[in-house]
């Protein structure tokens, strides 16, 4: 049922200066042939129903089970007119927990934000606190941080691509290939930090414990095997016609909108904006390593997929360089106290390039042992801002693919 007069109402979307692409540009689907099974329309009460629009609440749960959340979609026939994500099912007020505890006690909770990348989260928080208190990090600790962060990036991207393919209907195979590789990296994490996912490894001014004997050799062995995995993964996927048909030209995000909407990470770079905090902020020791920032051209889902593949390859390059020359020395600044840690009053915003985008921690200290304000800038939450814009005029099946390529983890979105 698609009356021709159906003019989707976009007033809720008009956001001042922003030009949102009108869905009218999308060709209307052909009117469905009337079949004998057509339901008689219910008497219209809601204004949407008047115009033949249908509101569907997807979730809480399915949206390919990235976590528990709901998508309120308004459909015109099969086409999406409005698409509002509803959050909060996993909300535990992480920020309040952080403010009620000491600086150290927030560290294990950061593991649980984006539980795929606990080591990057640890680093982002440590970076913010180090900025706040003006601490320096020993060279060896910085190397360990880079190694663990890049391993995290690889396993996150591999798993994400697996999940994305799952959303396309490729049940299992790519995801299992990704998980096989991810297991090797998680084994490394377990040997180093004691836990596979909730690592809680970094401390202000360094790391918690030194590398165990033989860890570097094991890590080198895993890193050597990575290019083979990337080739295999690409053979499997990159030229696959079904993947291309489902992802190319879908969910296009123009660079201006991406910048204005604060989209970060691989999604931003897939739209062709060259902004990688490893290059821009040069935190840690990233300026010592040679790597390139892959950029997309079209800003569609396929570009997002490809940027992630290329980023994994670049990460492997960084790892090879870093593993060649891990310096000796202490792993933590011995002056930093574990208990009774009180930075002096002030505020700091520390950010880094986590696998999902810019992960920032904003801290205000009032000179006590607890942060006065503890705020997380969650990349996957903010990347969802333009989900609706990307899905306008597409079908629900496409929308789920687009959602998959945003790379969200509800632990971080809802906090």
């Amino acid at each position: 049922m698609r009356p021709d007069s159906a003019e989707p109402d976009l007033s809720a979307l008009s956001t001042g200066d922003l030009v949102v692409e009108s869905p009218a540009a999308v060709p209307a689907p052909p009117p469905p042939a009337t079949s004998g099974f057509e339901l008689t329309p219910k008497p219209a009460t809601a204004p949407d129903a008047d115009r033949g629009l249908l509101e569907v609440a997807i979730g809480p749960h399915h949206p390919s089970t990235h976590g528990v959340f709901r998508l309120n979609a308004v459909l015109d026939g099969e086409r999406i007119v409005r698409f509002k994500p509803v959050f909060g099912y996993l909300h535990r007020n992480h920020e309040k927990i952080g403010e009620n505890g000491t600086y150290l006690s927030a560290m294990p909770y950061t593991d649980r934000l984006d539980y795929f990348c606990s080591l990057s989260n640890n680093w982002a928080y440590a970076l913010a606190v180090e900025k706040l208190a003006g601490l320096a990090v020993p060279e060896r600790a910085d190397y360990i941080r880079i190694i663990t962060a890049e391993l995290t990036r690889i396993q996150n991207h591999a798993a994400l691509i697996g999940f994305l393919l799952q959303e396309l209907g490729a049940m299992g195979t790519p995801l299992m290939y990704a998980f096989r590789e991810r297991e090797k990296i998680l084994d490394l994490f377990e040997a180093l930090t004691g836990a596979r996912m909730m690592c809680n490894y970094l401390r202000f001014g360094g790391c918690r414990c030194d590398l165990p004997a033989g860890w570097l050799e094991e890590c080198r062995r895993v890193v050597e095997g990575l290019p083979r995995f990337f080739d295999e993964f690409e053979n499997l996927l990159s030229t696959n016609e079904i993947l291309m048909a489902r992802t190319q030209g879908i969910g296009v995000l123009p660079p201006e909108l991406a910048v204005s909407a604060g989209v970060t990470g691989p999604m931003l770079r897939a739209s062709g904006v060259n902004y990688d905090l490893r290059k821009v902020d040069r935190y840690g020791l990233y300026d010592r390593f040679e790597f390139r920032v892959p950029l997309g051209e079209h800003g569609d889902v396929y570009d997002r997929y490809m940027v992630r593949i290329l980023e994994m390859r670049e990460s492997a390059k960084i790892l090879q360089q870093a593993l060649r020359e891990v310096p000796g020395g202490p792993i933590v600044d011995p002056k930093v106290k574990l208990r009774n840690f009180r930075p002096k009053a002030g505020e700091a915003y520390g950010r880094l390039e986590s696998p999902k985008g810019e992960l920032g921690f904003y801290l205000i200290s009032d000179g006590s042992t607890n942060p006065y304000r503890y705020r997380i800038r969650p990349p996957s939450f903010i990347n969802l801002t333009i989900l609706e814009d990307m899905c306008q005029g597409l079908t629900l099946q496409d929308a789920l693919v687009i959602l998959g390529a945003v790379d969200i983890v509800m632990g971080e979105v809802d906090r």
Binding site: T102, A195, N235
Partner: protein, 224 residues
């Protein structure tokens, strides 16, 4: 432009290679049959905390009930009550040490802050049970594990700890000799004995601070 379909065929070749490989290549065959086969855990692995004792599972506990871990535990899952002797004087010993492992998040912060090396991480992970309170709320005696067990699961770390404790003990004894020669060292107040809050305290406090009715236990000198 490739012929249509070549991409899919390429992928199929890849899966076929993996399938065949899974019969002979250890790189491809990564799963094990869990309950029958087991992976060895890495030395750093951790599950939930345990309390270390030296000789006797009760008297030999290294824990002095200083409650530092209780205070620092982020989700507040430790509950400690200090022991008292017949005259109501606090003893450096936990009468109650409860740890709710359904709340504990295995963060290891208690281990890091404990100045007496008495709480360490266990590696046991097969803890699922249908008895929430009987099996997941661990009491002092469930938590007590021998030093030998600690050596078994974390060999390197345990050796370091032992060396450090022996070192501290030697230092404390060297210090105690001149202190014992001096008459009338200050009598400890209850509050002081109850809260040796500084991590450096075990080395500093002279042995003469000890109450006369000191239980003969080899764990105590670490705290003395």
């Amino acid at each position: 432009m490739n012929l249509p379909g070549t991409g899919i065929i390429k992928g199929m070749v890849e899966t076929a290679r993996n399938f065949v490989g899974s019969y002979h290549d250890p790189e491809r065959l990564t799963t094990i049959e869990y309950p029958e086969e087991r992976l060895t855990q890495p030395e750093n692995a951790r599950s939930f905390p345990m309390l270390i004792f030296d000789d006797d599972p009760v008297k030999g506990l290294r824990c002095v009930a200083c409650k530092i871990c209780e205070k620092e535990c982020p989700p507040q899952c430790i509950y400690i009550v200090q022991d008292r002797d017949e005259r109501g004087k606090p003893r450096k010993f936990p009468r109650i040490f409860d740890l709710d492992i359904s709340v504990c998040m295995s963060c290891q912060i208690c281990v890091e802050v404990c100045p007496f090396d008495s709480i360490k991480m266990n590696t046991e992970f097969e803890l699922s049970t249908d008895d929430r309170f009987g099996r997941l709320l661990l009491h002092r005696d469930d938590l007590a594990k021998s030093n030998e067990y600690y050596h078994q699961i974390h060999a390197t770390e345990a050796a370091e700890v032992d060396a450090r404790l022996a070192d501290e003990k030697a230092k404390a004894e060297a210090k105690a000799k001149p202190a014992a020669a001096k008459p009338a060292s200050p009598v400890p107040t209850a509050a002081k004995a109850a809260a040796p809050a500084q991590p450096a305290a075990p080395v500093k406090s002279p042995a003469a601070d000890k109450p006369a009715a000191k239980p003969a236990s080899p764990a105590e000198p670490a705290a003395a």
